[in-house]
Structures are given as C-alpha cells and as structure tokens.
C-alpha cells in the first residue's frame, strides 16, 4: 500500500501510487475501528429493518445536483492503466533481462476494477511483446487442437496473454483449452506474462492448477486514503474549489485553507497535509482500494457547489469553480438484497468468475433451469454504474 511518506516525495508521486508486489501480501485499506463498528451496525440495521426496501437518498444529495459532464471530464483523473503499465515495466525489468530467472512465467492478477488486463496489454505494447488474444468464446466449448496457438509457439521473445480469464468457461467442455495452454506453458522456453482477474485465477488454481505453472503472482497494490487524495487532485490544478458537502471542509486546493494565496502557484506540488483525510479513508475502505471502483465512487460523490461557494471562489483571486463532495455513505450503491435466491447468487458468481459473459454463453454455463430464467437476462444486461 502506498504510504504517506512516499506520497510526500514529489518526484515519485506517480510511481508511488501504482506499485506492484506479490499478491500473497495483498491487503485492503482498513477503516478506523470506530468507523468499522458504525458501518457494520448500520448495515445490520438496514438489513434487518428495511429488508429489500430502496435506501432513501440523503438530504444533502438532493441539495447538490450532479456535475455537468464537461466539468466531470475535466475534474476526474485519467485512468491509471498507462501509469500502472510503466510501473509494471520497472517492476519486471530485472526479470525480463535476467539470463536465468527462477521462472519464465509471470502472472499479474487483480480484482475486478483493478484494470489488470488493460495494464498488462499496455505493458506488452511498451516492451514490444507478442500479444495472445483470447479466442471467440463460442469456440471454447469445442476448442480446436492448437491452430490458434501455432504462431505463438513458433515465435521467440516475450508472450503476453492479457486476458487469461477469457480462455476458459466453467463448463465440462470449457476447460480443455486452458489445460492445453497450461501444458504448453509448462514446457515453453519463452517468457510469458499473463493478466488475469483474481476470481478467475482462484477458480483456475483449483480447477486446472494454473498456479503451479507460474511463480507467485503479483498484483497492483490497493490504494489507501492518501493515494486516493493524490490521484483525485483535479487537473488542471487550482481551478476548482472542492468542499465536503456536510461540513464545508476544503479538500482541493489545499492553499485556500492555509491562506497561501493564488491557487495556481506551484506550492501544491509539495503535498502538504490535507483536509478531508477521513473522506478519502472512507472511499478507500469502501472501494477496497481498487482504482476503478474508487474512481466510480468519486464520480458519484461529486456534485455542484453551493451559491456561497461561488462567492468565496471569487474572493480568492482567480475564479474557482465550486464543487461539493457528498458523503460516500449517502450514496445508493448496488447491493445484494436480503433473501436473494440461490438462482441470482449463481448468476452473479458465474459473471464474476468470467469477468462478465454474454447472455448466450451465460445460459449455457449455468444450469438450464437458471440460465433460461428471466433473471439471467436481467442481471447479465445490467451495465456497471
């Protein structure tokens, strides 16, 4: 996990945010104990007393309308894929050029929302490696012997498989291709890097012992509150006045609270201690430190500023666009309702294991009594967010 100490080194901010480490040490950011108890009791209360009823939106949400799309585009940070790929490059650099590494196979895994597939694919492009893309999913039920692998077998250099989870289906006929691939990797003289969703990795480790082929997988470290604060800083810096909606605390830019004057000065690069640490810790805990999940939550948290913020923004010199941050607790997030049936749980679990599936494949992977039910279509067609 990125530490405050690392974040306070300005020249190292990007690489400190996106760091890779063995997945065995992967840890999610923890909530403060008092917050954990409060959240747990609140969740239990909602579950027992409200059952399946829709959670009402907090009052403050109705007072902060959503931000305009163009402002959101400017305020939200870029996806982390390119920066994380650069970090992966430096992490794997030694392994890549070592004459006799312990293992020629390296797996990079991550939970849904970590963007591990995109990161590995971009890393592959950065080091000019051969990318092996997954076959059509329909073909996984009856894979050809090895025609699509032939090219990969004959070439030399690094082979990159960014989406390993697309090479199998949880079906009695859907594991053959993965077994062929595992057997080939076992004897291959090439260096191979795969990206894989952690749910699929856990399944494949049990089903085909894929973990025996690779050395200890690595993962992008989870983001803590400090890291999120650094990542979410609006670009261009200093044009926005971001306050928390519940107590008006200034989150960005930091100079305003310290009376440093111009919001456009370069002083912000020094990363002084910031306000709203509690907000970012909460976001980190809620998102489990997963970048795309944290970004989606942050996007939902941002709302238009209040009229008094506009006045204050004018006073500070350069005009600042006011933004209010809603409490993450007030967000209506997707959740599994109490009393969910086994049928829905199986559909959701199947989608997780495959990082999503088209309905035509999903209906063949789950038992017929489930796959042909209208719930399968309803759940499978839902889009994130």
């Amino acid at each position: 996990m990125a530490t405050t100490h690392d974040l306070h080194r300005p020249e190292n901010n990007a690489s400190a945010l996106w760091r890779f480490a063995p997945a065995t040490g992967y840890d999610t950011p923890a909530q403060p104990a008092s917050e954990k108890v409060k959240t747990g009791l609140s969740a239990l209360w909602k579950r027992v007393w409200r059952g399946n009823s829709q959670v009402t939106v907090d009052q403050e949400n109705s007072e902060c309308p959503p931000l305009a799309a163009e402002i959101l585009t400017e305020v939200l940070p870029e996806h982390h894929y390119e920066a994380a790929a650069a970090s992966l490059k430096s992490y794997l650099n030694h392994w890549l050029h070592e004459a006799n590494p312990d293992s020629l196979m390296q797996a990079v895994i991550g939970p849904p929302g970590s963007g591990v597939q995109e990161i590995v694919a971009r890393w592959g492009q950065q080091v000019s490696a051969r990318l092996l893309l997954p076959p059509d999913q329909e073909r996984l039920f009856d894979p050809p012997s090895d025609d699509w692998q032939a090219a990969a077998r004959d070439e030399e250099g690094v082979l990159v498989i960014p989406e390993l989870e697309r090479f199998y289906l949880r079906h009695s006929d859907g594991l053959d291709l993965m077994r062929q691939l595992a057997e080939w990797l076992w004897v291959s003289p090439r260096r191979v890097v795969v990206g894989c969703d952690s749910w699929a990795w856990a399944y494949l480790s049990k089903a085909v012992k894929i973990d025996a082929v690779f050395s200890t997988p690595i993962a992008l470290e989870s983001l803590d509150g400090d890291a999120l604060w650094t990542w979410f800083r609006p670009r261009p810096r200093g044009r926005y006045l971001v306050r928390t909606a519940w107590n008006g605390e200034v989150v960005y830019p930091v100079q305003l609270e310290e009376g440093a004057g111009s919001a456009n000065s370069g002083a912000e690069d020094k990363d002084p201690p910031y306000k709203g640490a509690h907000l970012f810790q909460k976001l980190a805990a809620m998102s489990r430190g997963i970048p795309d999940v944290a970004l989606a939550l942050w996007r939902k948290c941002l709302g238009e500023g209040k009229p008094e913020d506009i006045q204050e923004g004018r006073k500070s010199g350069a005009p600042l666009t006011p933004i209010r941050v809603l409490s993450p607790e007030s967000l209506v997030l997707p959740s599994i309702p109490a009393g969910v049936s086994t049928r829905e749980a199986i559909i959701l679990h199947t989608l997780l294991l495959h990082a999503g599936l088209p309905l035509s494949i999903l209906s063949r992977v789950v038992p017929p009594c489930i796959g042909r039910h209208r719930d399968a279509g309803r759940i499978a067609r839902r889009r994130p967010g």
Binding site: R47, L175, T350
Partner: protein, 272 residues
C-alpha cells in the same frame, strides 16, 4: 406413625399463602418468552443471509430450556416449602407417578434435555432417524420436526435417540457430501472418464469450491461404477446438485464415447 395431614401441611404452603396470580403470570410470561425467542430467531434468519441460520437457530432450544428452568424455579417455591426433604419428597413422588403414567413422554423430555448439550441434531441439519430423512425444521422439548424432500412434516420423539442411530449429514455445517453415481461398460478409457467426471463436478454451479472433489471408481462384475463425491454450496441444494451432476455427467460421458450401462436388477440390489 406420622400423621399424613401433618406431613402434607409441612410440605405444601397454606392455600392462602399461594399466589396463584404470580404463578399464572410466571407461566404466561415464560410461554410468551419461548414464543418470542422462536419468532425472533425465525424472523432474524429470514432477513439475514441463509448461512446465519446455522448460528442462530441452534440457540432456540437452549434459550427455551433456560426460560423453563427459570419458570420452574420461580413457580415451585410458590407451591411448596422449599426445604431439601420437601423437594426430594415432591420430585420423588412426581417421578414415580409420571414414570408409570407418562414413561415415554418423560423419556422424550429427558432426551430433549440431553440433546441440548449432545447436539445429535440442530435446526437446519439434514438427518435420518429410523426411516425418515429430512431437514430439521424445529426442535421442541418432546420431539423434533423434520421436513422430508417430499415436503412432508415428520414428528420424531426425542427418545428415539436412546435406541436408534441418528445419521446427521452436515452436523451444523452449511454443506454436506453428496454422491452422484455413473455406470460405464467395462471396456473404456478410465483416465478420460475420470477426468471428464472431475470436470463435470468442478464446473457445477452448485459446487462448494473450498471442499474436496473426489471421483472414485470401483469394478463391478457387470461394469465400472464411478462416484463423484463433492459438496454443494448449501445443504438445501443437494438435490439440485446431484441432479446437475447426474445429467451433465451422463451427457459428458456419452460425448467422449463411453457406454453407459444400467445394473442388472439383482446386482443393483447387492452392489449399490
């Protein structure tokens, strides 16, 4: 020889000293408390994820026992003078009388007390008692209620536990081992059949993945029997799980060219 009326007078309180209102109130409160415990346990388990029922429901008989003991401790001193000799006399006489009149009933009640700590079955367990198999729906003071797969409620008195084997499939756990069997003509490739059956098991949507999956083969005079031994995510899914394994297993075996056989009637009775 002691006078009988004198002994009775020293045993029981005076009629006027007994607070029948208090006894009645204690009885009603205890009855309501038992009802509340049962209602709250069921209400809570309906609202929480189903796995919590294995932690909540087993407390119902324990709490009921505590409530009954408290009620008895409260009521008995209202009726008799609570000296050691009086208590021995009352419980001794009651024991003899009840022993003759309600032997089986009392035997079931005592068995109900024993099972609170021996726990041969708990609510949510899948048990076979005598010839009855089903999920334990409720554990009363005298009897246990089973719901069979055919949705029939069977009430089995607790005193069966003295002389009948109780088969508990899950013992308070969420999962239980299930078995699906397949019969294949002897001339076949055993490795490919075994691997395919393993794939059938590990690709089942009902499989509890943290538990082992085993495929066992045994040679019978008329064919080879394969058993998949695996665990479903929930005991309640056992029938769906076995059906899923059986249907997909047979289809997968046919696809790889294995010949399925059925056991001869006599062999079926002796071998399966």
């Amino acid at each position: 020889m002691p006078d009988l009326s004198e002994a009775r007078d020293s045993l029981f309180r005076d009629w006027n000293d007994i607070s029948f209102f208090w006894i009645g109130l204690t009885f009603v409160v205890a009855w309501l408390a038992v009802g509340c415990v049962r209602f709250l346990a069921r209400w809570t388990t309906r609202r929480l994820p189903s796995r919590y029922r294995f932690y909540i429901l087993p407390w119902v008989p324990v709490l009921r026992l505590v409530i009954i003991v408290v009620a008895v401790v409260e009521i008995v001193p209202q009726l008799i003078r609570p000296t050691a000799s009086n208590l021995i006399a009352v419980f001794g006489a009651a024991g003899v009388a009840i022993g003759f009149a309600f032997k089986d009933y009392v035997s079931s009640l005592i068995a109900g007390l024993v099972l609170v700590y021996e726990r041969p079955y708990r609510v949510g367990d899948w048990v076979k008692i005598g010839g009855d198999y089903g999920e334990v729906r409720a554990v009363g003071m005298r009897a246990v209620e089973l719901v069979t797969p055919g949705d029939t409620v069977v009430t089995v008195p607790h005193n069966k536990m003295w002389d009948t084997a109780i088969h508990n499939s899950n013992g308070g756990q969420r999962d239980m081992q299930c078995v699906a069997q397949f019969f294949v003509a002897p001339m076949h490739d055993g490795d490919s059949v075994r691997r395919k059956l393993l794939d059938v098991a590990i690709s089942s949507a009902y499989l509890h993945f943290d538990r082992p999956v085993v495929v066992v083969a045994a040679q019978l005079p008329w064919g080879t029997r394969y058993l998949i031994r695996a665990y479903p995510i929930e005991c309640r899914e056992q029938f769906a799980f076995i059906a899923d394994l059986t249907i997909r297993g047979n289809a997968a075996l046919l696809k790889i060219g294995a010949t399925l056989v059925i056991a001869p009637p006599i062999a079926d009775a002796s071998e399966s």
